[in-house]
Amino acid sequence: MDEALLRSLTPAVLGILVRRGADFAAAEDAVQDALVEAVRMWPDDPPRDPKGWLVTAAWRKFLDATRADTARRRREDLVDAEPEQGPASDTDDTLQLYFLCAHPSLTPSSAVALTLRAVGGLTTRQIAQAYLVPEATMAQRISRAKKTVGDVRFDQPGDVATVLRVLYLVFNEGYSGDVDLAAEAIRLTRQLFAAIDHPEVAGLLALMLLHHARRASRTEGGRLVPLAEQDRGKWDTRLIAEGVEILQAALARDRLGEFQAQAAIAALHADAPEAAETDWVQIVEWYDELAKLTDSPVVRLNRAVAVGEADGPRAGLKALAELDDSLPRYSAVAAYLHERDGDLGTAARLYVDAAEKASNLAEREYLTRQAARLNN
């Protein structure tokens, strides 16, 4: 059975239940129960109309639950309301769910968890494994999130930017446990891309595809491989072509946003057959655009690296000198630029410092190895 197909139906089914009058929390539980049942029953008895099957099953689960814990009267009211299918399309339902799960009243971790469950159709257990927290903790996080958005009306338009931030967070988590969060984020972003016409949605999808295309080359035996040393033969050219095409269509509409600018930088890297052929001058220009859009110090740190490649390490160090040296990865960038400038002693010291400040083990190992390379 195609579990991805099954999960792609989740938001529409949930949307239909909510539109029929079920409250969001109960509807979400009912859809989860229906998904579990589908996984159990479909292999032996595949339905002709998977979505219809899921709607019927989820609605029955919802009524059972309602019968179990509230008055019969309410259930009868709801049964009466059932025929009201409403004019809204599946696309609208799906979109509303994205907005609801990324609602500004939710913390980022709650929005991520709720999106993966209600829109993505993942089980609480899978989400807990992916984020390395106990299942009971994740269950509580999701249940509180559902309560928080319980009173949000389902018919108000939301802010696409909040949804994009949530999807970006999911993508960046990569993958651990048995759930590939990067692939899941791409799937959810594709679904959103199909539901709404927005250049930044296209920008984020392109960005994800272009980064995902390099995944096979990004590590080797658990070790980080920096962009310049990656085996470009391992890059997924199909994903790159798709990402570039989506990006070009978005850029042509002349409504630039940060995800489109980031994707443009990723596309320029993808475009270089060898690291030495990278168009760093254009990359610096895109970082300038990005800095205008976000004013983020992290962007300016990355820009300093690009300046170092385009105009030489001295120019890079000069750009770096304008930034706060407590920024994450500042030491790593400084080490790299000093090494390129030929000051190996300073570079080695800075790599050791950068390793001590690294926020993950893979980076710490990589930076320690850089120091060791220069010290030996």
Binding site: A348, Y351, E356, K357, A358, T368, R369, A372, N375
Partner: protein, 135 residues
């Protein structure tokens, strides 16, 4: 069965025998060290003795309640003199002797010139459950 915490320190433990920092090792020596640590954890998983293993970043601070309506007091980042835990492994073994044997093996991880580091590790038993049958 009893659980033990094996604690590794960035600072605060007595100096190991092979006391050369990793940034002075060769690439192969680093690879060999990491391989040894991974193999060790894998072995404990296969024997059913592994519970958990985590590494801690070097940055952190001490923090303390400073009274109603006031923000907590922090003291940090850690001064150079302070004990600094680098990470831990939790194991579940049949005996204290087995836990010691495993801690010794972990301490033998190779460092500079491929020779064992002889790193000092702290071993701490967890409190267990009160037994059901006491008489």
């Amino acid at each position: 069965m009893a659980k033990y915490l094996l604690l590794k320190h960035y600072r605060g433990a007595p100096a190991p025998v092979n006391n050369v920092p990793m940034d002075q090792w060769s690439q192969d020596e680093i690879t060999a060290h990491i391989q040894y640590m991974n193999d060790f954890a894998d072995k404990l998983r296969s024997t059913g003795e592994f519970v958990d293993g985590q590494a801690l970043a070097q940055e952190g601070a001490w923090v303390r309640y400073d009274g109603e309506g006031r923000p907590p007091v922090t003291d940090g980042p850690f001064a150079e003199t302070k004990d600094l835990i680098a990470g831990w492994m939790i194991i579940d073994t049949d005996s204290y002797e087995r836990a010691l044997e495993l801690a010794g093996e972990l301490s033998a991880a190779p460092g500079k010139d491929g020779k064992p580091i002889h790193e000092w590790l702290e071993i701490r038993p967890f409190y267990g459950n009160a037994p059901t049958i006491t008489e």
